[in-house]
Amino acid sequence: MDEDELLNGEKIEKVLSPHPLSFMRYQSLSLFLIIWGILLLWLVNFSEWNNIFSQSEWFPIIVWGLVLLVAGVIASIVTIRWSIFFLYLLIFAGGIALMISQGWLDASDIFIPSYTVSISIIGFLLVEAYRQSHKYYISNQRITFKGGIFTKQERTLRYDKITDINAKQGIIGQIFGFGTIIPISQSGFGLGSDKSFAGGGVSLGEKKVKLFGLFGGGKDVQTPRARSYYELHGVYPYKEIKKLVEQMVQGNVITPYQQEQVAFQKEQVDIQKQMRDLLKMQSGSKIDQKGEEENSE
């Protein structure tokens, strides 16, 4: 954060970035590719089943694609994110397109593993670049979140606007001491929703009369969720940062007792002001009386 971005009297307490392992859900996609690439290299070239693969250049491609797409479907269902499946589909389609266009179909036993491993390395690098684009500044007045490789995202949150703090730590986070802190603002920024839908249809009658009914029901649950550049994603040391943020919020948010005290003090000030005015008025009238008396004398 540049000097000119700081507010009057603002002091930076901590500058943070996500822990290298905090984007494991993305890294695991690349990790799977690298493992599958090496496994395929062994399977096609060195295993006892390599004869099966040498029968046709399409066999390694079919096995590679099948495993890749099945893994994509499983990962998508588990994480409820179809982008994973489409990503793997893109990798598969890209590989085939490259092989056909370059005429490398004969060398599929070497090309596919090399291609898979190369893609996974690129994936790792992209995730790392994305991680490094994140910066969180905790100052005495606000938290500033910055992130994004090409499009720069920024969020500024004053402590008095924070209503809740959600904190979570997965198993890897617990082992390495990092975690995610989501400050939820009064406007509801930092909240997402989990949707579930159940539907069913029924068809009655076979020949002439046909009845069709569709029943559905949906459920919406509010849950703390934000993009990694709108939350303190995978910050280390988690416990220390969580305490710091809570202290900052505590220091900037007025408690009910303090509110009562302020109201009471205001009341006192008003009474004093009224008394002062009365005294002024009294002393004013006395002076007037004296003046009148002097005039009459």
Binding site: I38, W42, I171, Q174, I175, F176, G177
Partner: protein, 356 residues
């Protein structure tokens, strides 16, 4: 020599039980060594120790949950983190059900990880499992001595096959490499006690044993029932002329052997970590780099000059090169092996420089 009936009726069933107990105690001693090594490296490798703690707690919690499932108590709450694990039953069951759940909790972590490895070994090992076939052992007499011999013979056959597999392990084979990885991974978790953040209390073998002792002392009747079942099982085996009784305990022996080897391999890795911690800077990475490099060099060398022992020789090269590199680094980069005469020489030299 004729076997006495008292030997067959009273002592023979005890033979495999004693055999299993012996192995289990050896396992406990090795677990203690693992805990000691982990506590030594804790200050420098906090995440690593947290990870091993998590593994230990994970197995313990799974065993507890398994206990509740088997006793049909149900599970109402399953909580696990790196410091603590808790499983709460749906129904609070007393008596034998509670006792069985506790048996799973205290003894399960010693055997469940090994059982997972045993399943993997079943697909990887080429020999070692075949000897437990009862028909091959029908001629055995059912005395204490013969039972213990049978137990030992079965165990030897498995151990032979297992070590044969380990010495011939192909680290370029994904299944073999995966097995070794899993073995180290599970080896770190075969311990029922947590290693504390600070030295709050001494959690050691005695603590574990105390828990198990209390379990048996508080409800001796269940222990007696267990023995009665064991004796009945033995008599049925005797009546049918089979060796099922020993075969059952042999499986527990196999699990102990697998656990022992896993812990030993995990201990070797912990010793390597502890030793390399003494080397400062980038040099400490070299012993770890030597492991894959030396193995690959060995495999390439024996690929061009083939021998009958390519894999064991490559493993041997890996071990020797790692030890050598670590030794050289310790000698050169630390004061570990500096003898008194060396220090005297150094002092003289320094004195000479000062005077000169």
């Amino acid at each position: 020599m004729e076997a006495s009936s008292i030997d067959i009726v009273v002592f023979a069933p005890l033979a495999p039980i004693l055999g299993v107990l012996l192995f289990w105690f050896i396992q406990l001693v090795f677990i203690e060594s693992e805990k000691y090594l982990l506590s030594k490296i804790r200050s420098k490798h906090e995440p690593f120790c947290r990870f091993t703690n998590f593994l230990g707690i994970l197995f313990q919690t799974i065993c507890h949950a398994l206990g509740f499932t088997i006793t049909k108590s149900g599970i109402s709450n399953f909580y696990i983190d790196i410091d603590y694990g808790k499983v709460a039953p749906k129904k609070e069951r007393k008596g034998i059900f509670e006792w069985v759940s506790n048996v799973f909790l205290f003894i399960g972590p010693f055997f469940i990880p090994a059982f997972l490895l045993l399943i993997c070994l079943f697909f990887l090992m080429t020999s070692g499992f075949e000897i437990i076939n009862p028909s091959q052992l029908q001629e055995l007499r059912y005395t204490f001595g013969e039972q213990i011999t049978s137990f030992g013979a079965n165990l030897f056959s498995f151990t032979n096959g297992f070590f044969n597999f380990l010495f011939n392990i192909d680290l370029l084979h994904p299944a073999h490499f995966g097995f070794l990885f899993l073995m180290i991974f599970l080896g770190m978790g075969i311990r029922p006690s947590y290693i504390g953040k600070e030295k709050k209390e001494k959690v050691d073998m005695l603590y574990d044993l105390k828990n198990i002792k209390n379990l048996f002392i508080n409800k001796p009747i269940y222990l007696i029932i267990l023995f009665v079942f064991a004796y009945i099982f033995f008599y049925i085996s005797l009546w049918l002329g089979t060796n099922w009784y020993v075969a059952f305990f042999v499986i527990l022996g196999w699990l102990s052997i697998i656990s022992l080897v896993s812990i030993i391999i995990a201990d070797i890795i912990l010793v390597l970590i502890k030793t390399t911690d003494e080397i400062s800077g980038k040099w400490k990475v070299f012993p770890y780099l030597t492991i894959p490099t030396s193995y690959l060099v060995g495999r390439i060398f024996f690929f061009y000059i083939p021998t009958d022992f390519t894999r064991p020789m490559s493993i041997l090269i890996l071990i020797l090169s790692t030890i050598t590199v670590t030794y050289i680094l310790i000698k050169r980069k630390t004061d570990k092996f500096k003898t008194k005469s060396d220090i005297k020489k150094l002092k003289k030299k320094r004195k000479g420089v000062k005077d000169g």
